[in-house]
């Protein structure tokens, strides 16, 4: 082998760093986009980044609790998707827009 050798297995830290990068991608999506549906998709990105670190901890520590949490997070995300999209629909029906900066009725 030369000076550079490929790792033979992926350490836990790599999964955690990947998860952090994906989470921040979601955060940037939420703060830069105007479309409520894309903001909603960015929130899903963040939820999935957390799921990734949960599964990583679960697999590397040999504890099933992490994967149980992922299961419940998915159920909550499904509920959130249904309610969130219903709110977007109601918003569009009343204001003819899905751009969050044009919705200011709750702004003080």
């Amino acid at each position: 082998m030369g000076a550079f050798s490929l790792p033979t297995s992926i350490p836990l830290d790599y999964y955690l760093i990947l998860s952090a990068v994906l989470f921040v991608t979601g955060v940037v999506g939420v703060i830069t986009r105007r479309n409520a549906i894309i903001i909603f998709m960015s929130i899903e990105l963040m939820l999935n980044a957390v799921n990734l670190s949960m599964v990583a901890f679960s697999a590397f520590l040999g504890d099933v609790a992490g994967q149980m949490f992922v299961f419940f997070i998915m159920a909550v995300a499904a509920a959130e998707a249904a309610v969130g999209l219903a709110i977007v629909l109601a918003l569009f029906r009343n204001r003819r827009t899905v751009y969050v900066d044009e919705v200011n009725i709750m702004k003080w």
Partner: protein, 173 residues
């Protein structure tokens, strides 16, 4: 274990790329399609950690159910490409937003790099805990109460979304 390294590299690059495409595409439908691809990449990453059940549920629930709902709403609202507001050129606010996100990223990555976990390989039980059999076993014994609570949550979400999204029919006196 070389296969795990190869698959992790492919899926990690794929996941980051599709996530970036999701938040940068102007067209909401292509955003949604990239998010579906992202969920498949994550599912692959779960498989590199021997979490078979979570990988299958990821594809079924996220790529299958949730994204169908999202695409359906996008089509229903007939959304076009998102235009950028001209007066949105608020450079200070934009810079602050990216600086905050960047500092957050640095903070999280430093937390991992600064205190390495020392775990370099999967736990020897990893292949055993991720199976549907084991997950079901634990779910219906140790986690039975949260499981029932989640069913209640889903019912509440179901009723809530119907009430929110339904048309208001005028009362005919």
């Amino acid at each position: 274990m070389e296969l795990q390294v190869l698959l992790f590299t492919i899926f990690a690059i794929g996941a980051v790329t599709t996530a970036l495409l999701t938040i940068t595409r102007r067209n909401p439908v292509s955003s949604a399609m990239n998010l579906v691809a992202h969920f498949f990449m994550l599912s692959g990453l779960y498989l590199t950690m021997e979490a078979q059940f979570v990988a299958a549920v990821q594809v079924l629930v996220y790529a299958g159910a949730i994204m169908v709902l999202v695409v359906f709403v996008i089509m229903l609202l007939n959304l076009g490409k998102e235009q950028q507001l001209a007066e949105r050129g608020n450079a200070v606010r934009q810079t602050l937003a990216f600086a905050t996100a960047g500092m957050f990223a640095v903070m999280m990555i430093m937390a991992v790099v600064g205190g390495p976990s020392g775990k370099t390989a999967l736990h020897e039980n990893a292949a055993m805990i991720g199976t549907t059999e084991n997950i079901g076993q634990v779910l219906f014994t140790e986690y039975l109460f949260p499981f029932e609570a989640v069913s209640l949550l889903l019912l509440a979400a179901l009723i809530g979304s119907v009430i929110l999204a339904k048309r208001h029919i005028k009362e005919e006196a």
